[in-house]
């Protein structure tokens, strides 16, 4: 077998004769394309061209298309081109090629320009503003579903809610405890390290207590729930959307919001306060252990200081926020889940969106709550 394809030419009066040899196949397409393009661009207005294909020992779609391209090139230049000696087995393929690529088709090219990042920024900002719509929509849909269920409690999917609760709360407890415990340790350690220099050791307990109870506990738990359960809600609902399961539910006369979203949302609204409480306790325990082992404080004094520093108000401030955080996370996760389109890429994109937006919402809401509690004096 000839190693490389060949296209020899000889001029015979005003007649151009081409001799093709070797394999005209996909494997040699790059060399072939060059040969063919050379012939097309170098045609010195021969009135007739004959292409002798008898030396070709392998031929496939790539070869056939390039031969067709050569022929079209000659025809465009006004020469009369003909093929001779093509193996009978290959003529069908060549014939097939004569009908293709007749329309002018140029694939769209997206080029990166200096304006691209600004363009993207503008579009993202637009999305951010317009993106509020679907969440408000979902909140309304959940509200109506809740109303319907309240009128006919028997239709509420309690089993589903319990199962979701098991996943988002019960199974999340170990990791939430571990992380909040470590955060408690770190805050206390940093407090002792820096406060010791001006003799304010004892105030570390105040700092740990207030920070954990009012802010850190609920914030860390919410962020973890957004990453752990919010993302799984989005991926789950997105996959169901992709496989038309959501549409199936709808055609069977069920409201997907009532069947899928309400139990998930309610499970989350119960789970986040529970996790917040447990997480706060773990963080305080972490702080206590560091206070005793690193700060050299006796446990009795730690407890005493803690009792002075935090009141039931600090505890309430943290816990009141929790269900609202849960609602925000759940709404974002479910809305993004139902916005998944057909492709795997869109599933990934929406899951990312869900987590990013949920965490953003959690932090914004925390700020709003801080203002609110400050103005009512809590």
């Amino acid at each position: 077998m000839t190693a490389a394809p060949v296209l020899e030419s000889s001029v015979n009066g005003d007649r151009l004769e081409l001799f093709a040899k070797g394999p005209w196949t996909a494997h040699h397409a790059a060399e072939l394309e060059e040969l063919v393009n050379q012939q097309i661009s170098g045609t010195a207005s021969a009135s007739a061209v004959s292409i002798d294909m008898s030396g070709v020992n392998a031929f496939d779609t790539f070869g056939a298309w390039l031969l067709e391209r050569l022929m079209r090139g000659f025809r465009k230049a006004g020469s009369n081109a003909g093929i001779v000696g093509l193996n009978d087995n290959y003529t069908g393929l060549l014939h097939e090629m004569s009908d293709v690529n007749q329309s002018d088709y140029t694939p769209p090219v997206t080029r990166w320009t200096l304006a691209t990042p600004f363009d993207r920024l503008g579009r993202n900002a637009e999305d951010l503003v317009l993106g509020i719509g679907p969440f408000v929509n979902m909140l309304g849909a959940v509200g109506t579903a809740l109303g319907r269920v309240a009128l006919r409690p028997a239709t509420f999917r309690f089993t589903s809610m319990v199962q979701q609760f098991d996943r988002v709360c019960w199974q999340a407890i170990p990791i939430v405890l571990l992380i909040t415990f470590l955060i408690g340790c770190i805050i206390a350690q940093q407090g002792f390290f820096h406060f010791r220099r001006f003799g304010a050791d004892t105030y570390v307990v105040d700092m740990v207590g207030i920070l954990v109870m009012r802010e850190i506990g609920v914030l860390i738990v919410s962020i973890m729930v957004a990453g752990r359960s919010g993302s799984s809600y989005t991926a789950e609902l997105g996959a169901m959307k992709m496989r038309e399961e959501v549409d199936a539910l709808r055609t069977m006369g069920f409201d997907p919001v009532e069947v899928l979203i309400l139990p998930r949302l309610l499970a989350l609204i119960v789970a986040v306060p529970v996790l917040t409480f447990l997480g706060s306790m773990a963080a305080l325990a972490g702080g206590a252990i560091v206070a005793v082992s690193y700060g050299g404080m006796s446990p009795e004094i730690f407890i005493e200081r803690l009792r002075d520093a935090i009141s039931i108000t600090s505890f309430k401030v943290g816990l009141i926020k929790a269900p609202f955080m849960a609602l925000a996370i759940g709404l974002v996760a479910c809305t993004e889940g139902l916005r998944v389109k057909g492709s795997a890429e869109s599933l990934g994109l929406k899951t990312t969106d869900s987590v990013v937006k949920a965490i953003f919402m959690v932090i914004v809401m925390d700020g709003l709550f801080a203002i609110f509690f400050a103005s009512i004096g809590m």
């Binding site: 996909a26 790059a30 779609t61 069908g92 097939e96 293709v100 389109k341 492709s343």
Partner: protein, 261 residues
Amino acid sequence: MYDPVIKVRDLVVGFDGTQVLKGLSLDVQRGEILGFVGGSGAGKSVLMRTIIGLIPKRSGTIEVFGVQMDKASEEERHAVERRWGVLFQHGALFSSLTVRQNMQFLMREHLDISQELMDEIAVAKLEMVGLGASDAEKFPSELSGGMTKRVALARALSLDPEIVFLDEPTSGLDPISAAEFDALIRTLQQTLGLTVFMVTHDPQSLHTVCDRIAALSDGVVVAEGDLGTMMLSEHPWVKSYFRGKRASGGYKPLVSENLGA
């Protein structure tokens, strides 16, 4: 001329406690369209997936183009893989790429050719399977079932393979589309000189395009040959498949055509 491109001998494949293929032997000859039939869950797709290396076998040998797949080096295996194309049952198009990018995925990987030529070839292949340049920029989620199958076939053919494996190519298509698809496979097989290994349920496909049929039952090939041989087989499963009530879809039209003529 006896020139098998795929040679399977005493193949045993199983999952956990169950054995799906129990010492199966089968040859596929160069340039033929082999229809592979069997009941649901009999292991048709399992055989196909074992040949293309997606499922490990327990024992037996598989030879493709004379290369023993499990003894071959990675390079040899890649060389063989380049010479076959696979149409998966649900298309398995890459959902984040457009139709054109799906078509060019293998070309980009294996061939060093210009973007212009890749675009032309992609459109040429799309037109060969009955689609057009206007479909090239669509995403798989925007395609209908029939179009998905066509694009998947075009993608399987993108490197001009010598063997194509088709896993239920006409399932989920309406009878007209299925008939068109069969005709398309026949045309492509003739123009490109393909060897086709076709797993199917469709009696009409067996009747119209297959040169040879192999029937799978109880983990082995129980009957092999053209439609006539199948009709004469006394194996109970083959008998009920080819001569049962549902088989009329593939058989009766033949009779009525004769009457009409």
